[in-house]
């Protein structure tokens, strides 16, 4: 059995203390292997976003552990944690989180800028990522002038620019109409299929979930079922 690239071991997460305490996750175990596409499915308030934040090392579990390529992520702190997140993960959010006033290229190269890549190299790789998403002609336009689908493609380019091993997509099509949503889905799954990037999709959309290799259903902070099926 290969080592999972990302694993949750009996993870709990609670907020607050005393009578106001809220348990978002009550003991979740999950293994994700390199190259997989996994959907974390649940209604809002089920704890699926909390699980994603823990897996993306944005937060620490109250108990249990998160393992990144077999080693406990609790050992990653400070600068190393930041570097790891920068190199390993790409993020696609439902809200695009693009800086409207800046150019599309500027937005896309943000992870490279944070990583400390030089200006020329940044531009080259940024344009490459935009070309992969057929947005190169929009490189110099303001991000606020893009359509919804273009924005989400720019976001994917940004998630992709740093050659991540894992892309987290939090409701990636939530803000898009079904036609453009389908295009964005195609792009994400093509990346997973062609480049072997592990895809972790957080969604309540059954159709999107159905396209993933595996679905993990979360309800009230617990995994209530997993389902492996070849995408239809």
């Amino acid at each position: 059995m290969p080592i999972p690239i990302l694993a949750a071991r009996d993870v709990t997460k609670s907020y607050g203390r005393g009578p106001g305490r809220f348990d978002a996750l009550k003991g979740v175990s999950l293994e994700i292997y390199e190259g997989e596409s996994v959907a974390i499915v649940g209604k809002s308030g089920s704890g699926k976003s909390t699980l994603m934040h823990l897996l993306a090392l944005l937060d620490r579990p109250s108990s249990g552990s998160i393992e990144l390529a077999g080693s406990d992520a609790v050992l990653l702190t400070g600068r190393i944690l930041n570097t790891t997140r920068n190199r390993t993960f790409g993020f696609v959010f439902q809200q695009f989180f693009l800086t409207g006033g800046a150019s599309v290229l500027e937005n896309v190269i943000l992870p490279l800028k944070i990583a400390g890549v030089g200006a020329r190299e940044r531009k080259r790789r940024g344009l490459e990522a935009l070309a992969a998403l057929e947005l190169e002609d929009k490189a110099t336009s303001k991000a606020s002038n893009l359509s919804g689908g273009q924005k989400q493609r720019a976001v994917i380019a940004r998630a992709l620019v740093n050659d991540p091993r894992i892309i987290f997509a939090d409701e990636p099509t939530g803000n898009l109409d079904s036609a453009t949503g389908a295009v964005v889905e195609d792009i994400l799954f093509a990346l997973n299929r062609d480049q072997g990037i592990t895809l972790i999709v957080v969604t309540h959309d059954e159709d999107l979930a159905a396209r993933c290799d595996r679905r993990v259903y979360i309800r009230d902070g617990l995994v209530v079922g997993t389902e492996s099926a070849v995408a239809a």
Binding site: R79, Q95, A115, G116
Partner: protein, 430 residues
């Protein structure tokens, strides 16, 4: 993130909300402008004083007087036959204890004294060019080493045996000389009366024409050592030796390379011996202190304006942090450290401070130079060489750096707030 990228991004960010940045920059601009002008005022006036110090006296000279025995007490003073009128620097009617030849010897024996020259007070009667009209003349014997502010001509020679005189500008026309330069080399007659009221004249060569300045008495002439001695001799003809050799003060030369501490020690030795020594710096020190205090008060007002402006920076950046909450969250999620986020916002503050202070200083230099040029052509035309508002690169740089430092301090609060932000909370922020 590289430092250069932090700086570049911070500058880009500050231009993102142009109106807000502009308003904050204007607030800082006002403070920096005021500070630059008030500082320039201090620099200008003090520069002028420093430049004219040379005309008041040489740098390596102490003016020595004898400490009077009955300096204190009110009411009529006991008669003292050794009192003479003070020569310059005092109110009319001020008297000082006279120095006699034995005092001069005593002073020259003190350690650190290179030479002692008694100041001869001369009171010539008139000055005349050829057979032209006679004009009254106030003349002062030049202290060796003095640098007069000349409109034209050369400085007096203390070693030459030629009788030299430097005349105030106003005498040129009066004596019938066509121009300043034509006056150079002219021979003038100086009339003087001795103790027995017998008039005599002494010829002198005009070597220079002096500008009016702070240090020079208007409508006065300065004579070199040779001429001073001749005039003194002429006016004391008929006086017995002891009556002749009484001086109100003496000039003590010391080593030009002496440190301030050495000068102080020399002054202490003089005090112990019963004399009082003052350098030129001492004499004008009070003057400068007053100006420094005025400038300090003006600066304080400018700093108050800057403090008010710094709250503008805090406000601007807090709003900016609020607006960019999600962006900060995203950057942190992408692995940007809190320190860099802090750097991003505090540098934005510093940059706003730099913009405000640099523009403020630049405009202040333009306005200040214009105003001071206009004033020196009109109101201050009687004080040639006075630049009312002068700017030194050092103080301009200091102002800009101080404003940037204030901006940095103001930026720390919002920057720390941004740096502390939890990426998850920020990304959830609607």
């Amino acid at each position: 993130m590289r430092t250069i990228d932090v700086i570049g991004t911070a500058i880009d960010n500050s231009f993102r909300s142009k109106l807000r940045t502009t308003l904050t920059v204007i607030a800082i601009f006002i403070g920096a402008f005021t500070l630059t002008i008030t500082n320039g005022l201090g620099t200008g006036i003090n520069d002028y004083i420093n430049n004219t110090v040379a005309a008041i006296g040489a740098q390596d000279v102490l003016t020595v007087t004898k400490v009077g025995t009955d300096a204190t007490g009110s009411g009529p003073k006991k008669y003292n036959p050794d009192l003479v009128a003070a020569s310059g620097g005092g109110r009319p009617g001020t008297t000082v204890q006279a120095l006699n030849p034995s005092d001069i010897t005593a002073i020259s024996d003190l350690k650190g004294v290179k030479s002692v020259v008694p100041t001869l007070s001369i009171s010539p009667g008139y000055i005349q060019n050829g057979s032209g009209a006679k004009y009254t003349l106030t003349a002062i014997g030049a202290v060796p080493g003095i640098t007069l502010q000349l409109a034209t001509g050369s400085q007096l020679s203390s070693t030459s045996s030629e009788s030299q005189i430097v005349l105030a500008k106003s005498y040129v026309k009066a004596l019938g000389l066509s121009s300043n330069s034509a006056a150079i080399g002219a021979t003038v007659k100086i009339g003087i009366t001795d103790a027995a009221r017998n008039p005599s004249t002494i010829d002198a060569t005009v070597v220079g024409i002096s500008e009016a300045s702070l240090g020079a008495i208007a409508d006065a002439a300065t004579t070199n050592s040779a001429l001073t001695q001749k005039l003194f001799d002429a006016q004391t003809v008929g006086l017995p030796g002891t009556a002749k050799d009484r001086y109100s003060q003496a000039s003590v030369r010391f080593d030009g390379s002496a440190t301030a501490a050495e000068v102080t020690r020399l002054k202490d030795r003089l005090t112990k011996a019963g004399y009082n020594g003052q350098t030129v710096a001492d004499q004008i020190g009070t003057f400068k202190t007053v100006i420094d205090v005025i400038v300090l008060v003006l600066n304080a007002f400018a700093v108050i304006a800057l403090l008010a402006a710094s709250f503008g920076i805090v406000n601007t950046l807090l709003m900016s942090v609020q607006e960019r909450t999600r962006e900060i969250g995203l950057m942190k999620a992408m692995g940007m450290g809190g320190g860099k986020v802090f750097g991003l916002f505090s540098f934005e503050a510093v940059f706003i401070g730099f913009l405000g202070s640099a523009i403020g200083a630049a405009v202040a230099i333009l306005v200040g130079s214009g105003v001071s040029a206009a004033l020196s052509g009109s109101v201050f035309s009687g004080l040639p060489g006075l630049t009312l508002i002068a700017f030194s690169p050092g103080s301009i740089a200091t102002i800009i750096l101080v404003v940037m430092a204030i901006a940095f301090v103001a930026g720390t609060l919002p920057a720390a707030k941004a740096a502390r932000q939890d990426p998850i909370e920020s990304l959830r922020y609607e």
